[in-house]
Protein backbone atom coordinates (compact mmCIF):
# COMPACT_ATOMS: atom_id res chain seq x y z
CA UNK A 1 0.00 0.00 0.00
CA UNK A 2 1.41 3.41 -0.88
CA UNK A 3 2.00 6.12 1.74
CA UNK A 4 -0.78 8.18 0.13
CA UNK A 5 -3.27 5.31 0.52
CA UNK A 6 -2.27 4.75 4.14
CA UNK A 7 -2.81 8.45 4.86
CA UNK A 8 -6.23 8.36 3.16
CA UNK A 9 -7.22 5.24 5.12
CA UNK A 10 -6.20 6.72 8.46
CA UNK A 11 -8.04 9.93 7.65
CA UNK A 12 -11.23 7.92 6.99
CA UNK A 13 -10.76 6.14 10.34
CA UNK A 14 -10.29 9.43 12.16
CA UNK A 15 -13.30 10.99 10.45
CA UNK A 16 -15.52 7.99 11.22
CA UNK A 17 -14.39 7.99 14.85
CA UNK A 18 -15.07 11.72 14.98
CA UNK A 19 -18.59 11.25 13.62
CA UNK A 20 -19.30 8.43 16.07
CA UNK A 21 -18.08 10.57 18.96
CA UNK A 22 -20.21 13.51 17.85
CA UNK A 23 -23.33 11.35 17.43
CA UNK A 24 -23.00 9.70 20.83
CA UNK A 25 -22.15 12.88 22.73
CA UNK A 26 -24.73 13.48 25.50
CA UNK A 27 -26.63 16.74 25.80
CA UNK A 28 -24.76 19.45 27.67
CA UNK A 29 -27.11 19.31 30.61
CA UNK A 30 -26.02 15.78 31.59
CA UNK A 31 -22.65 15.79 33.39
CA UNK A 32 -22.86 12.18 34.60
CA UNK A 33 -23.48 10.88 31.09
CA UNK A 34 -20.80 13.23 29.77
CA UNK A 35 -18.29 11.74 32.23
CA UNK A 36 -19.08 8.20 31.05
CA UNK A 37 -18.99 9.30 27.42
CA UNK A 38 -15.60 10.98 27.98
CA UNK A 39 -14.16 7.82 29.50
CA UNK A 40 -15.26 5.80 26.47
CA UNK A 41 -14.02 8.46 24.07
CA UNK A 42 -10.61 8.56 25.74
CA UNK A 43 -10.21 4.86 24.91
CA UNK A 44 -10.68 5.74 21.24
CA UNK A 45 -8.00 8.30 21.57
CA UNK A 46 -5.17 6.47 23.32
CA UNK A 47 -3.82 4.68 20.26
CA UNK A 48 -3.58 7.84 18.15
CA UNK A 49 0.09 8.61 18.94
CA UNK A 50 1.16 5.07 17.99
CA UNK A 51 -0.81 5.22 14.73
CA UNK A 52 0.58 8.63 13.85
CA UNK A 53 4.13 7.65 14.84
CA UNK A 54 4.01 4.58 12.56
CA UNK A 55 2.64 6.71 9.73
CA UNK A 56 5.24 9.47 10.13
CA UNK A 57 8.10 6.98 10.20
CA UNK A 58 6.70 5.26 7.11
CA UNK A 59 6.42 8.59 5.28
CA UNK A 60 9.99 9.56 6.22
CA UNK A 61 11.33 6.16 5.12
CA UNK A 62 9.40 6.23 1.86
CA UNK A 63 10.57 9.76 1.12
CA UNK A 64 14.22 8.89 1.92
CA UNK A 65 13.95 5.94 -0.45
CA UNK A 66 12.88 8.36 -3.19
CA UNK A 67 9.49 6.71 -3.61
CA UNK A 68 7.45 9.89 -3.17
CA UNK A 69 7.54 11.80 -6.45
CA UNK A 70 5.67 14.82 -5.04
CA UNK A 71 6.19 15.02 -1.26
CA UNK A 72 4.34 18.27 -0.62
CA UNK A 73 0.74 16.98 -0.96
CA UNK A 74 1.63 13.94 1.15
CA UNK A 75 3.22 16.11 3.82
CA UNK A 76 0.17 18.35 3.90
CA UNK A 77 -2.25 15.44 4.06
CA UNK A 78 -0.39 14.06 7.06
CA UNK A 79 -0.50 17.53 8.62
CA UNK A 80 -4.29 17.48 8.20
CA UNK A 81 -4.41 14.22 10.20
CA UNK A 82 -2.67 15.97 13.08
CA UNK A 83 -5.17 18.81 12.85
CA UNK A 84 -8.07 16.37 12.91
CA UNK A 85 -6.69 14.44 15.88
CA UNK A 86 -6.06 17.61 17.87
CA UNK A 87 -9.43 19.09 17.01
CA UNK A 88 -11.14 15.95 18.30
CA UNK A 89 -8.97 16.15 21.40
CA UNK A 90 -10.17 19.70 22.04
CA UNK A 91 -13.79 18.64 21.79
CA UNK A 92 -13.15 15.79 24.21
CA UNK A 93 -11.32 18.10 26.57
CA UNK A 94 -14.41 20.33 26.69
CA UNK A 95 -16.57 17.33 27.60
CA UNK A 96 -14.16 16.35 30.37
CA UNK A 97 -14.20 19.88 31.76
CA UNK A 98 -18.01 19.92 31.68
CA UNK A 99 -18.22 16.61 33.55
CA UNK A 100 -15.69 17.82 36.10
CA UNK A 101 -17.59 21.09 36.61
CA UNK A 102 -20.68 18.98 37.30
CA UNK A 103 -18.80 17.11 40.04
CA UNK A 104 -17.92 13.97 38.07
CA UNK A 105 -14.40 12.66 37.80
CA UNK A 106 -13.28 11.23 34.44
CA UNK A 107 -11.04 8.17 34.59
CA UNK A 108 -7.81 8.32 32.56
CA UNK A 109 -7.96 12.09 32.15
CA UNK A 110 -4.22 12.37 32.83
CA UNK A 111 -3.49 9.62 30.34
CA UNK A 112 -5.57 11.50 27.79
CA UNK A 113 -3.62 14.73 28.38
CA UNK A 114 -0.35 12.81 28.03
CA UNK A 115 -1.62 11.38 24.73
CA UNK A 116 -2.44 14.86 23.44
CA UNK A 117 1.04 16.08 24.39
CA UNK A 118 2.56 13.13 22.50
CA UNK A 119 0.56 14.02 19.40
CA UNK A 120 1.61 17.67 19.65
CA UNK A 121 5.27 16.67 20.04
CA UNK A 122 5.08 14.36 17.06
CA UNK A 123 3.42 17.07 15.00
CA UNK A 124 6.29 19.38 15.97
CA UNK A 125 8.79 16.83 14.65
CA UNK A 126 6.86 16.31 11.45
CA UNK A 127 6.01 19.96 10.87
CA UNK A 128 9.44 20.80 9.53
CA UNK A 129 9.25 20.49 5.76
CA UNK A 130 11.94 17.83 5.62
CA UNK A 131 11.92 17.57 1.86
CA UNK A 132 12.78 21.18 1.19
CA UNK A 133 16.44 20.88 0.33
CA UNK A 134 18.45 22.59 -2.33
CA UNK A 135 21.91 21.93 -3.63
CA UNK A 136 24.71 24.49 -3.41
CA UNK A 137 24.27 25.04 -7.15
CA UNK A 138 20.59 25.80 -6.71
CA UNK A 139 21.43 28.23 -3.91
CA UNK A 140 23.90 30.05 -6.14
CA UNK A 141 21.31 30.12 -8.89
CA UNK A 142 18.75 31.57 -6.45
CA UNK A 143 21.09 34.39 -5.52
CA UNK A 144 21.68 35.03 -9.19
CA UNK A 145 17.99 35.62 -9.91
CA UNK A 146 16.61 39.07 -10.57
CA UNK A 147 14.89 40.52 -7.47
CA UNK A 148 12.20 43.16 -7.01
CA UNK A 149 11.08 45.06 -3.92
CA UNK A 150 8.04 43.39 -2.39
CA UNK A 151 5.65 46.25 -3.29
CA UNK A 152 6.86 46.22 -6.87
CA UNK A 153 6.57 42.43 -7.12
CA UNK A 154 3.04 42.34 -5.71
CA UNK A 155 1.95 45.26 -7.88
CA UNK A 156 3.17 43.24 -10.84
CA UNK A 157 1.32 40.14 -9.61
CA UNK A 158 -1.91 42.14 -9.22
CA UNK A 159 -1.43 43.90 -12.56
CA UNK A 160 -1.48 47.42 -11.07
CA UNK A 161 1.08 50.17 -10.47
CA UNK A 162 3.00 50.30 -7.20
CA UNK A 163 1.07 53.26 -5.79
CA UNK A 164 -2.29 51.57 -6.44
CA UNK A 165 -1.02 48.42 -4.75
CA UNK A 166 0.16 50.34 -1.68
CA UNK A 167 -3.20 52.13 -1.37
CA UNK A 168 -5.02 48.82 -1.76
CA UNK A 169 -2.95 47.24 1.02
CA UNK A 170 -3.31 50.24 3.33
CA UNK A 171 -7.06 50.00 2.87
CA UNK A 172 -7.00 46.23 3.42
CA UNK A 173 -5.04 46.62 6.65
CA UNK A 174 -7.46 49.27 7.94
CA UNK A 175 -10.40 47.00 7.11
CA UNK A 176 -8.64 44.02 8.74
CA UNK A 177 -7.90 45.91 11.95
CA UNK A 178 -11.39 47.38 12.14
Amino acid sequence: MSAEMIVATIRKQFEMAGEALTESKPKESQPAETARYSEDAILFFLDRPATLRRLVEHVWATQRAGRVPDPLPLWLNVSVLFQLALRQANSLRESIAFARAGGFRVEREEEFERTVREIEALRGEFQKPFFFKASEGEREAALGLEYLDADEAFAHIAGVDVETWRQRMAEYERHRQG
Binding site: A134, S135, R139, A153
Partner: protein, 98 residues
Amino acid sequence: MAHKVKLSNLITKQIRAWALPDQIEAEIYLFLTHVLPADVATNLTRESGPFDGMVAQCVRRDPHVQGRDHQFFFQVQFGQDEETLFISSGDYYTSQID
Protein backbone atom coordinates in the same frame (compact mmCIF):
# COMPACT_ATOMS: atom_id res chain seq x y z
CA MET B 1 16.42 44.42 13.12
CA ALA B 2 14.00 45.47 10.38
CA HIS B 3 14.57 43.34 7.32
CA LYS B 4 13.91 44.39 3.77
CA VAL B 5 12.20 41.81 1.60
CA LYS B 6 12.83 41.21 -2.06
CA LEU B 7 11.10 38.72 -4.33
CA SER B 8 12.72 36.97 -7.25
CA ASN B 9 11.19 37.12 -10.68
CA LEU B 10 10.65 33.36 -10.27
CA ILE B 11 8.49 33.59 -7.11
CA THR B 12 6.69 36.60 -8.59
CA LYS B 13 5.71 34.47 -11.58
CA GLN B 14 4.78 31.57 -9.29
CA ILE B 15 2.46 33.67 -7.11
CA ARG B 16 0.83 35.11 -10.19
CA ALA B 17 0.29 31.62 -11.59
CA TRP B 18 -1.32 30.43 -8.33
CA ALA B 19 -4.19 32.85 -9.10
CA LEU B 20 -4.98 33.36 -5.42
CA PRO B 21 -8.19 34.93 -4.14
CA ASP B 22 -7.59 38.67 -3.53
CA GLN B 23 -7.77 38.34 0.24
CA ILE B 24 -5.29 35.48 0.36
CA GLU B 25 -2.93 37.38 -1.94
CA ALA B 26 -3.12 40.35 0.44
CA GLU B 27 -2.46 38.07 3.40
CA ILE B 28 0.63 36.64 1.72
CA TYR B 29 1.89 40.14 1.03
CA LEU B 30 1.41 41.03 4.71
CA PHE B 31 3.09 37.80 5.81
CA LEU B 32 6.14 38.39 3.62
CA THR B 33 6.48 42.11 4.28
CA HIS B 34 5.30 42.47 7.92
CA VAL B 35 5.11 39.17 9.80
CA LEU B 36 8.25 37.49 8.47
CA PRO B 37 10.64 40.46 8.70
CA ALA B 38 9.37 41.34 12.18
CA ASP B 39 10.31 37.97 13.64
CA VAL B 40 12.54 35.88 11.41
CA ALA B 41 13.54 33.59 14.28
CA THR B 42 9.98 32.36 14.70
CA ASN B 43 8.98 32.38 11.07
CA LEU B 44 11.97 30.70 9.47
CA THR B 45 12.97 27.07 9.69
CA ARG B 46 16.65 26.51 9.21
CA GLU B 47 17.67 23.59 7.02
CA SER B 48 21.24 22.70 7.94
CA GLY B 49 22.13 20.38 5.14
CA PRO B 50 23.29 20.39 2.43
CA PHE B 51 23.47 24.17 2.93
CA ASP B 52 22.23 26.74 5.40
CA GLY B 53 18.90 27.56 3.89
CA MET B 54 15.65 28.85 5.28
CA VAL B 55 12.03 28.04 4.70
CA ALA B 56 9.14 30.26 5.75
CA GLN B 57 5.73 28.66 6.01
CA CYS B 58 2.32 30.16 6.47
CA VAL B 59 -1.25 28.93 6.40
CA ARG B 60 -4.29 31.05 5.76
CA ARG B 61 -7.92 29.97 6.09
CA ASP B 62 -10.05 30.64 3.00
CA PRO B 63 -12.62 33.32 3.85
CA HIS B 64 -15.17 31.94 1.41
CA VAL B 65 -14.77 28.14 1.51
CA GLN B 66 -15.30 26.56 4.91
CA GLY B 67 -12.48 24.28 6.05
CA ARG B 68 -10.12 25.18 3.22
CA ASP B 69 -6.58 26.12 4.13
CA HIS B 70 -4.07 27.73 1.80
CA GLN B 71 -0.55 26.59 2.68
CA PHE B 72 2.57 28.34 1.48
CA PHE B 73 6.27 27.56 1.60
CA PHE B 74 8.91 30.08 0.65
CA GLN B 75 12.62 29.52 0.28
CA VAL B 76 14.40 32.43 1.88
CA GLN B 77 18.02 33.52 1.87
CA PHE B 78 19.79 36.30 3.71
CA GLY B 79 21.65 38.85 1.64
CA GLN B 80 25.26 39.64 2.41
CA ASP B 81 24.16 42.76 4.34
CA GLU B 82 22.18 40.38 6.61
CA GLU B 83 19.27 42.81 6.42
CA THR B 84 17.73 41.80 3.13
CA LEU B 85 15.64 38.65 2.86
CA PHE B 86 15.57 37.21 -0.62
CA ILE B 87 12.51 35.08 -1.39
CA SER B 88 13.72 32.94 -4.23
CA SER B 89 10.98 30.38 -4.84
CA GLY B 90 8.00 28.75 -3.22
CA ASP B 91 5.28 26.19 -3.27
CA TYR B 92 1.57 26.34 -2.66
CA TYR B 93 -1.12 23.83 -1.84
CA THR B 94 -4.68 23.85 -0.55
CA SER B 95 -6.09 21.35 1.89
CA GLN B 96 -9.64 20.68 2.99
CA ILE B 97 -10.30 19.58 6.53
CA ASP B 98 -14.13 19.57 6.72
